[in-house]
Amino acid sequence: MTADAVVIGAGIVGAACADALSTVGLRVAVVESRVIGGGATAAGMGHIVVMDDSEAQFALTHYSQQLWRTLSPEMPAELEWDPSGTLWVAADEEEMQAVAHKHAYYVARGVNVEVLDAAQLADAEPNLRRGLHGALLIPGDSVVYAPCAAAWLLARAQLRRASLLADRVISIGRHSVHLTTGDRIESPNIILASGAWARELLPAIPVRPRKGHLAITARYPGFLRRQLVELGYLKSAHGHDTESVAFNLQPRTTGQLLIGSSRQYDVTHTSIDAPFLARMLRRAIHFMPALEHLRVIRAWTGFRAATPDSLPLIGPAPGREGLWLATGHEGLGITTSLATGRLIADAIAGRTPAIPPEPYLPARFPQ
């Protein structure tokens, strides 16, 4: 069979690519070997968050967040869209200074932000422990249930003639992909969106799996209003230590709480590391002692596709004509999926992208 574009993987990134490519008029074929949105997309928190580690990260997250917001009025209920905002929690004066910095940074870029002092923070989230110094509130951040978002984006693409194949790509040729069934799909454009599995098809790609644990509670409506993240997260999460945990707590529209987060390199098994999960939960209790009595109904793990510079790989694969990369989104792929889809579609369709694509081009890494 033939297609104008083949997307490998129907996670949130592949689904967003299919949506965007079908919008510019291409006939898209999506190949997914497991369940739609069943990879990292089913493991992630679905926090749609602006970040400012680098100018490039801000540009991508900010752009993508706007795309999410534009879509939100059309979203079906199962996407659990919740514009609940983020509170970046400062535990000491040093972190309070970081709050001030971030505040200035975002204000300068037109993002609505607010500084809360200790009393305002206690008022906003009464279950937080006393003695915290304050927080930065980003009201425009939100939460989505990513597996259903992926399915929805795909369904939109299918309305624009995209097709979905339940099969596995075993190799990528020149302008074609080969499937387990022996079939091949011929296409001038092949988009590799297989997340942390990208190395299986392209061993040289600079992507490493970075494992994370999450736990979800029973329903406790009203316990938490906004997503809470410790500012120390910035120190721990984006460093490249082999192991780290941080307080990251999310309210779901179901009344459940999603408790994160952890990062581990060089671990490949999917099982729960109970002592490590315990460490992550102790960090959460440290910030919110009232969590102690709440019941966890399930814990799981997932793999982020991490790159050396913490920015994704979006654009042509160096030296492989017709092959495009859309992976390496680490802990932000749900947020940045929509922007990724647009950047790829703009490049293929020869349109001018809304943000400069250079920082994300795979060619920035030596081959």
Binding site: A218, Y220, P221, T254, G255, R295
Partner: protein, 80 residues
């Protein structure tokens, strides 16, 4: 006899009984309301279905079929 209260109503029943029996004795058929608001009562009687959940002494999501009645317990079926 063990005395306890279900939604504020006093009930008493023999030692060794479970909280689910006390809820029934108080005149209620449902122990909880489902996520879409349907009334639900115990199903499995052995701690696996979670249909008999109620709040006991302020702790929500307790499986009342597994928990023996204790003197002075406060049981509430109001939370989901």
């Amino acid at each position: 006899m063990i005395r306890l209260r279900v939604n504020g109503k006093p009930v008493s029943l023999p030692e060794g009984s479970v909280v689910a029996a006390a809820i029934a004795l108080s005149g209620l058929d449902a122990t909880r309301s489902s996520v879409r608001g349907e009334p639900r009562g115990p199903l499995c009687g052995m701690g696996i279905c979670f249909e008999c959940r109620a709040t006991i002494d302020g702790q929500p999501h307790q499986r009342t079929c597994q928990i023996p009645v204790r003197q002075g317990m406060e049981v509430s079926t109001d939370a989901g």
